[in-house]
Symmetry: C2
Subunit: 284 residues, 2 copies
């Protein structure tokens, strides 16, 4: 059984980029040709995401479907989500199910079963507010089958600071969450030198990114907010360690929707946007 | 359009109890008769929960399906969850979808659409860690159709204090979250005197419950942890205001699984357990 951190490292080294493509399908932004053929949102999301996967699989090693957009379609959305995760696996991509789950122990175990068994994702994002019991069942489940998790530490949204920045015993809350992540992560380090409990750290807060990178040197960072949300390549570069590893840089809308719905060349545009994002990261 | 707080107040007054029945189906605890007829977990969960709803609907006004257990079944679990929510509505019950969602604004809006439109729940539990943007899209969506939400403030699990109890500017984190909930809730008070943004406050921390009750007099509290998790009727009584309203007291396993799988009289046992919980709350 291979260690999650090693799978991630191998995948990123093989493709030569830490870029992760986020799959956040939105019905009003889909190519018109797909909507004509698939008027049902769940079916349109599936078709669109499978095509996106085929386009980006030769270029990147990691993809991140956002559960919420599939959930908004109701039960059929979950069928689509599972097919998207399955297709990504078939293409050899490492998958991050962005679901931000968290609950008391027995319930967290059920969420972990959903993510790692029912949906067969390689990793999941987890919300730490409920404390120890909200995270540890995910870790236990992940370690049974070489999966991983990414715990929210400092998120990329404008209102994130309302609680995450509160000063607790002289340090902001997110640093306390970061310390807990560091301890969980150190329990199981892979051959690549990184562990299986990563941190979500937004690209839009550069100072925090630098501070957390120093505090958690052996944790994988999932860095959202690159591209459409305003994070630049220079901002996110702070998350990447000198070995070129340690960070998964996510871009969603900037890569998957660089076109108007009536564009005939939407596939070529997604391919170009992916290549441009890779080049921008490489230059930084 | 009726206000969520008023729906809740009317439902609790009509049944004369603040008891909420939590639906946390577990395959290994289901009645053997149901498993024989429905070897597929999703289908067994649906059958079991529909029968539980028929038993408890004459006795209580509120039910709370736990999304995680349905999610663990994969896509078919969501079909079951939707049917359970639909049946609860047909029986005139107020529904709380316990899903503890939370994400950046556009994603939170998709989760709200999932809860209030795709699954047609009357309310949802929300995780506040992502801050303002994680909660406000739920509020906006809820107010468009008379729905409500319950934001995690102080949860009932043993490891909850890891972050929730951290002292921030002289007060624990959960009090800061409580203040934010109080402000959101005050924006839209119903005729009954309560608002539509409630707080999740565990039954297992009595001192915090009393403190938060005083700080948020006009917010509905969803109080988990009564029964199997260790909270007594005397503990939870602190959440109920002098008008008999203000709290929804949840019991899940204690009510829905008071039997061994081979019990032939499991339906009668659920009915008795519900009546006993109602009586215990009334006595306290």
């Amino acid at each position: 059984m291979s260690h999650f951190a090693d799978q991630l490292a191998d995948s990123i080294k093989a493709k030569g980029t830490p870029l992760c493509v986020g799959l956040d399908p939105r019905f009003d932004m889909l190519p018109a040709a797909i909507v004509r053929e698939h008027p049902d949102p769940a079916s349109a999301y599936e078709r669109f995401c499978l095509q996106v996967l085929d386009i980006v699989a030769p270029l990147v090693g990691v993809v991140k479907p956002q559960s919420a957009f599939f959930e908004a379609c109701g039960p059929s959305g979950f069928t689509a989500l599972r097919k998207v995760l399955e297709h990504a696996k078939q293409l050899g991509l490492v998958t991050i199910l962005d679901a931000k789950r968290g609950d008391i122990a027995s319930t967290a175990a059920a969420y972990a079963e959903a993510a790692f068994t029912a949906f067969n994702a390689d990793s999941i994002t987890v919300n730490p507010y409920l404390g120890r019991d909200a995270v540890e069942p995910f870790i236990t489940a992940a370690r049974k089958s070489g999966r991983g998790l990414f715990v929210l530490v400092r998120t990329s949204n404008p209102g994130a600071g309302l609680f995450q920045d509160l000063m607790c015993n002289g340090r902001p809350l997110y640093r306390h969450v970061g310390d807990a992540v560091a301890a969980w992560n150190r329990e199981n380090i892979g051959k690549c030198g990184y562990g299986d409990v990563g941190a979500v750290v937004g690209a839009t807060h550069r100072a925090e990114l630098i501070e957390l990178r120093a505090a958690l040197p052996d944790a994988w960072f999932l860095v959202p907010g690159f591209g459409a949300q305003g994070g630049t390549a220079a901002d996110v570069a702070a998350a990447i360690r000198p070995d070129g590893l340690g960070a998964v840089i996510n871009s969603s809308r900037g890569i998957t929707f660089p076109f108007k719905p009536d564009a005939a060349d939407w596939e070529a545009r997604i391919e170009s946007a992916t290549k441009e994002a890779i080049a921008a990261l490489r230059a930084a």
